[in-house]
Amino acid sequence: MTLEELAASLGFPSFVPLFAVALALALVVGLIILVPILLRVIEIANYAYSNSRIQVMSSRIIPEEKLKEMIEASSLAEVVAALEPTDYSPYLHEMMEERSEAIERALNRHTADSYREVATMVPMNLKSVLAVLLRKWDVYNIKLILRGVYAERSPDEIRADLVPVGELAPSKIGELAEARSLEELVSNLDGTPYSRLAESLQLFDQTRNLTVLEARLDNILYEDAWKDMTSKPLDENLLALKNYLATNIDVVNLKLLFRAKKDGLTAGSIESYLVKGGGLQESLIKSILEVDTVDNVVAALEGTKYYQPVLGAVPEYESTGSVLPIELALDGYLVRVGKNISITQPFGIGPAIGYLSMKEMEIRNVRTLARGIEAGLSPDEIRNLIMKVGT
């Protein structure tokens, strides 16, 4: 059978129209297959620029070896000099005062700039995802203002310590720092998610313990974010963020539980401070609430992802009697989760989460280092306070 005969048998006057129809059909089928692929490719292309930029920024995070050298520094001037070839160089002139407060303020500015830079460069659809991470700084700032107002510091002094980043407008944060009483501060929070802090004022009046208000702020922050994550369909980016947020909540809760068990607090006195949500089963949290020692909390965690990191810190806890090594191990594990997300989701929110969690760790370590050196701690003592990426 010739091609012309084939075309005639199919009702076409010649082969050319048959070929044209076949080609058109192939194009339609091809488009049906290719369009979803191309949409995914376009999505990936959106992240190519920002994520590559973030990877370069990640490469400038102070490496562990450099940090080890800095720990051996004998003065703050040496620390500042060691920071010269790093991302901190634009802030060095602020650190020249050679006081840890000056360094901390420069670090706060660097934190704000890092967040702002990442928030500016990520694609539009990630900006709302990043907002969840930015809210953490609102809470950090409100806590600073709470402490400042409580300690009757002047608005200028309070403002100097704030980290100028977050979802709340800088003018709003500045206005909050003007408050002359905690009641005024809480009333100024009207119109923000943190206005619910008013519910805890009565308890604060009874106890005069700021932890009541600070813990409530954490509850509002994490529970709102968790509610948001569990009430809508999640794309890959939100799923990654949910995973990170779950670990964040677990770490906050576990740190509270470890500290409470160390201090011998009862289940009833700490239950209301725990954040609802996270990756740990509620039944497990309840069972941990009932145990009475740090060792029992560790044992209760067996089978969870937190067991190994915590177990690694137990010998240090036993030798020092402080839960700080366990807290550092948990924080380090959180950074590890952030890093893992950046590896498993290179075209999406991953690199941003990974970079910001590594950056926070770096800033925290430089801050610890500066405070430690100023306080005259030995390198070994500082080393014990330094946070490492968990395993």
Binding site: L3, F15, V41, I44, A48, Y49, S52, V56, S59, F347
Partner: protein, 178 residues
């Protein structure tokens, strides 16, 4: 002897060869280029690394161009139709059909060849994505250059296979070297 339909089909094949491969390379190079721009924005010293990885998805476009040129030479679009006519006559003898029908078959074969190298050229999209990831990875860890290069080059295999099949089709139907 009317070979016009066969030649027209061959022209379609050449067009698909270059066009589809160019889409693949264009998207691949674009994605890798965006990643390269991101890296350079933070560190202009990364230009060399970015350029190397961005160049890799371009090869599919070159294969598509090569496939198209081979089809056009084989079917006489470049260089005259005498060779195509004689090849069609020879094929007609082998297949026991008319030279016109043989020319049509050869034109269709050229479309097949064009589709092979053209569609295989879409592998440049995947290569561009790997190249973009590699630019980020190498920017962070320069020691990973070799390994990232190996990963990125992997997609090339399919483009080479596509070109190979195109050449085999053209040779098999006596369109090359007739």
């Amino acid at each position: 002897m009317d070979i016009s339909t066969g030649v027209a089909l061959a022209a379609v094949g050449a067009g698909i060869s270059m066009g589809a491969a160019a889409i693949g390379s264009g998207i691949g190079v674009g994605i890798a280029g965006a990643a390269g721009a991101g890296a350079i924005a933070e560190d202009p010293g990364k230009f060399g690394t970015a350029l190397v990885f961005q160049a890799l998805p371009q090869t599919q476009g070159i294969y598509g161009f090569l496939g198209a040129v081979l089809i056009m030479i084989g079917t006489g679009i470049l260089g005259g139709f005498a060779a195509f006519e004689s090849a069609a006559t020879a094929l007609a003898g082998v297949m026991d059909t008319t030279p016109e029908n043989a020319a049509l078959i050869m034109g269709l074969a050229a479309v097949g060849g064009g589709l092979s190298v053209g569609l295989a050229g879409l592998s440049a999209i995947g290569q561009g994505i790997t190249a973009a990831g590699s630019i980020g990875a190498v920017s962070k860890e320069p020691g990973a250059f070799g390994k990232c290069m190996v990963l990125t080059v992997m997609s090339e295999t399919f483009a080479v296979f596509g070109l190979l099949i195109t050449i085999l089709i053209l040779v098999g139907l006596n369109l090359l070297g007739a």
